[in-house]
């Protein structure tokens, strides 16, 4: 059975599903990265994902239009982000605690909505796989990279886009400045509140899409608490990736590949207790985090409330 793990089909399968599994992490982590680069730690990602997953599923189920579902997920994520921004920027609440509050809200609310509006197990026809012209025909590589659904492709395009915004635009300059020295940014007329509102709402929108990628692209069902901690892993991946898009991509891929590996181990019936197998990616995250994080310094103003003197 161990030998089966190393056959070409299985390896292709593992990598291919690893890439698929990385999708929600990419959306959520890149969104979270923008918030953190501007100084806001949002621990409510999990809650945003759950509501996003539900809204996408519900709208897709009722309308049959997957893109409307994604749009609905973005909307509910934006609302959650708006609320988070209001609480942390205007009311100056402690970021960690309010984030946990929003997680619990999202968890409870998605459960409630599911029970009231759907109630039973239903499935939708999720985003289909699209084989890209030419690229999808390349042996092995085509199977792994270019036979995925739309949300997967978009997630991977998000990484260079995020890098570009952060480093090549005036907006990105403002975000980096606000996260490092909000007083300096403020003294030059950059509105710290406006930048933080923008990044936190953007984070909410992307978390919503992350949820949608679970419920209408990856699993095509909605279950209560279906994210099962992925939102928190997404937060951890931001640290893991050193607050950089490419670092986050690496972290998300590593984590998802190990996850895919353990899924295949279970499927193939390799004699490892499934509980142990399930733990693998998490143990790996903790290990890599302890080894890697100390080297990279996060944004100086992360979690700090900004208040103008005088």
């Amino acid at each position: 059975m161990i030998r089966e793990l190393f056959s070409a089909t299985v390896i292709i399968g593992i990598i291919s599903s690893g890439i698929r599994l990385a999708t929600p992490y990419l959306y959520a982590s890149i969104g979270e990265m923008f918030g953190q680069r501007s100084g806001v730690l949002n621990l409510g990602v999990e809650g945003q994902m759950l509501l996003g997953a539900f809204m996408a599923f519900y709208v897709a189920l009722k309308t049959g239009n997957l893109w409307l579902g994604v749009l609905a997920a973005m909307g509910v994520g934006a609302l959650m982000g708006l609320a988070m921004a209001f609480v942390t920027v205007n009311l100056q609440a402690t970021q960690g605690i309010s984030g946990i509050g929003f997680y619990l809200f999202g968890l409870g609310m998605s459960n409630l909505l599911f029970q009231k509006l759907i109630g039973t197990v239903e499935t939708v026809q999720g985003f289909p796989r699209i084989s890209l012209p030419l690229l999808g025909k390349i042996p092995v590589i085509g199977d792994i990279f270019f036979n995925q659904n739309m949300l997967v492709y978009l997630a991977f395009l998000l990484v260079p886009a995020a890098w570009f915004v952060l480093h090549k635009t005036t907006l990105g300059l403002k975000i980096r400045a606000v996260g490092e020295n909000p007083e300096a940014a403020d003294s030059l007329g950059v509105s710290v509140s406006r930048v933080r509102y923008f990044t936190v709402i953007l984070g909410g929108v992307l978390s919503g899409v992350a949820g949608a990628s679970l419920s209408i692209a990856l699993l095509n069902v909605f279950q209560q608490n279906m994210t099962a901690g992925q939102g928190f892993i997404a937060v951890a991946l931001v640290y893991f990736g050193g607050w950089r898009p490419w670092g986050i991509l690496g972290g998300a891929l590593l984590f998802s590949l190990v996850n895919a590996l353990q899924l295949w181990i279970q499927v193939l019936g390799v004699p490892i207790p499934s509980e142990l197998a399930v733990m693998m990616p998490y143990v790996l995250t903790i290990l890599v985090l302890t080894v890697s994080v100390s080297k990279v310094r996060g944004p100086s103003a992360l979690t700090k409330v900004f208040e103008r003197e005088g």
Binding site: K168, G172, L173, A184, A185, L188, G189, V190, E309, G310
Partner: protein, 527 residues
């Protein structure tokens, strides 16, 4: 020097700016009381006063950071309201803050471009910004690399970035808030050259300082503030340092200096080739060896952040060292806990007195017994002896002239000078063998500083060994018997006060050794 050659958009030009009858009240204090102030193009107008005299408040009002309760700002005859720093910048007023408003992780060009519209719309135009920075830098001989990351620059270079930032935004009037506080004497000279060039080009400069000799050197006019009130404005050529000092303090002051070196006694503190890490994990101290003797003040001069904090913490046992040895009274105390060192007669006046020296929410009595609360006479069998503590506190409040409503007053509600007196009372009343005093007068007014200096000199007369760490070269020169200069965690040299010159110390502070210097002074001399 031609206006057309200037890359900054010379749209704004301020000929005169007047502040008339400015008042600003904060809870409990009247920071500015009907202050008049004006500045003209082409002059340096010094604003002189002690800490808390209201200089910074006045300038923050001018820069739109505070809003005055009364009074008016008039630019070239036009009454003006300045609601925010951005508005101030738009009107041609720039400010160089004492604590730089820079983003350390960004490059020079990014710091300059931040908040400005870009010629490329949503995309940054750093190439173009860099070009204009170089033009400006060239004009004022500012030598700066637009691509350098700000955290890698020296303090003096960072200040230049601040100046460029203001010029880039078309400032016609620059407010410089204590710009020399963090500079070496040579960097101060360079800054003054830049300032003179700028006045020639028609800029108006406000120079905030409490250093008399700098004010006399650079300004054409000087205004003195005391307790929020304006004492007077005069052409600098018509006043002397003594007059200005009297205006500042409101009474005659003497410039304290220590008497000539007495015969110094045995070695009390010794460091032998000490190396340690800084908080950032880089090298904090590197092969530091020095000795402080009984009855001696060893001054440690250096620009902020060159290892002073690490050195103080190493001696008092708060920092783990990588190699080397620390001796107290001839005994190896390397790696011992602070509590043990306290018991052996080491006192410490930390740099951040509120953070490391006191507990904000404890009252005076509690703060006074922090070090020795666990032993008699303050406690017995684990119980505090309130009556003895109260008597002890009363005695110290009288002896050290601590101004407080009661001994139950919380530390956080005392003034800076009184906080330092409480700290001195605790650390000096124990008859210490040795004292590490880090920035003991930082932020204090002249009266309180005088008091601290007197106390330290009294300890010196009693035979205590004192390491005085200060970024204020005047203080070092006034009090020290010998002067050690630290640069990037290394002791550059140890000089005798009598023969040391300000210039030589300044060069050492910048890491430059004078050539043809006999090498033996680098070793602590036998006394």
């Amino acid at each position: 020097m031609t206006p057309s050659g200037s890359p900054s958009a010379e749209k704004v030009k301020i000929h005169t700016l007047e502040m008339i009858g400015i008042s600003k009240r904060f809870p409990g204090v009247l920071a500015n009381d009907r202050v008049d102030f004006d500045v003209r193009a082409g002059e340096v107008h010094a604003l002189l006063g002690e800490n808390g005299a209201g200089k910074s408040t006045l300038m923050k009002i001018l820069y739109g950071m505070y809003h005055p309760d009364a009074g008016q700002i008039v630019i070239d005859g036009q009454p003006t309201v300045i609601p925010s720093p951005v508005a101030a910048i738009r009107k041609g007023i720039g400010m160089i803050h004492q604590h730089f408003m820079l983003v350390p992780t960004l490059t020079v060009a990014e710091n300059v471009a931040l908040g400005l519209p870009s010629s490329r719309g949503p995309l940054t135009d750093l190439e173009q910004v860099s070009k204009r920075i170089l033009q400006l830098a060239d004009k004022y001989n500012l030598k700066i690399d637009p691509k350098a990351l700000v955290w890698q620059l020296s303090v003096g270079q960072q200040q230049r970035v601040e100046i460029i930032k203001a010029l880039y935004r078309g400032a016609a009037l620059l407010l410089l808030d204590e710009p020399t506080a963090v500079l070496t004497p040579q960097e101060v000279d360079e800054l003054f050259v830049i300032m003179r060039q700028m006045t020639l080009d028609g800029y108006g400069l406000v120079f905030i300082s409490h250093k008399l000799h700098e004010v006399v050197e650079i300004s054409q006019r000087v205004t003195v503030l005391r307790n929020g009130r304006k004492i007077g404005t005069r052409p600098t050529s018509e006043v002397t340092k003594q007059i200005l000092a009297n205006w500042m303090v409101g009474r005659d002051i003497e410039f304290i200096t220590s008497s000539a070196q007495q015969a110094a006694g045995e070695t009390r503190i010794a460091l032998e080739k000490v190396c340690c890490d800084s908080d950032r994990g880089t090298e904090g101290l590197c092969d530091v060896s020095l000795e402080v003797h009984s009855g001696e003040i060893l001054g440690l001069a250096g620009v902020s952040g060159n290892g002073q904090r690490e050195l103080a913490e190493t001696i008092v046992g708060l920092r783990h060292i990588r190699s080397g040895k620390v001796f107290l009274d001839g005994k190896d105390v390397t790696g011992l806990q602070p509590g043990v060192l306290t018991g052996r007669g080491l006192s410490y006046i930390p740099e951040e007195r509120m953070k490391d020296g006191m507990i904000r929410n404890f009252n005076i009595a509690e703060n006074l017994i922090l070090r020795e609360h666990h032993k008699p006479p303050f406690s017995e069998h684990g119980f505090l002896k309130m009556r003895d503590i109260a008597a002890h506190t009363d005695r110290l409040i009288k002896q050290y002239q601590i101004k407080t409503p009661s001994q139950k007053t919380l530390a956080k509600s005392l003034s800076g000078g009184n906080i330092q007196k409480v700290l001195l009372a605790r650390e000096l009343s124990r008859s210490p063998r040795a004292i590490v005093a880090a920035q003991p007068t930082r932020g204090l007014d002249i009266g309180a500083s005088e008091y601290v200096h007197e106390q330290l000199l009294k300890q010196r007369a009693d035979g205590t060994a004192i390491l005085l760490i200060s970024e204020d070269l005047d203080e070092i020169l006034a009090l020290s018997d010998r002067i050690a200069v630290i640069y990037e965690g290394k002791i550059m040299d140890i000089l005798y006060r009598e023969t040391a010159t300000r210039e030589e110390i300044g060069l050492l502070m910048a890491g430059v050794h004078l050539e043809n210097k006999p090498a033996e002074t680098a070793i602590a001399p036998e006394l």
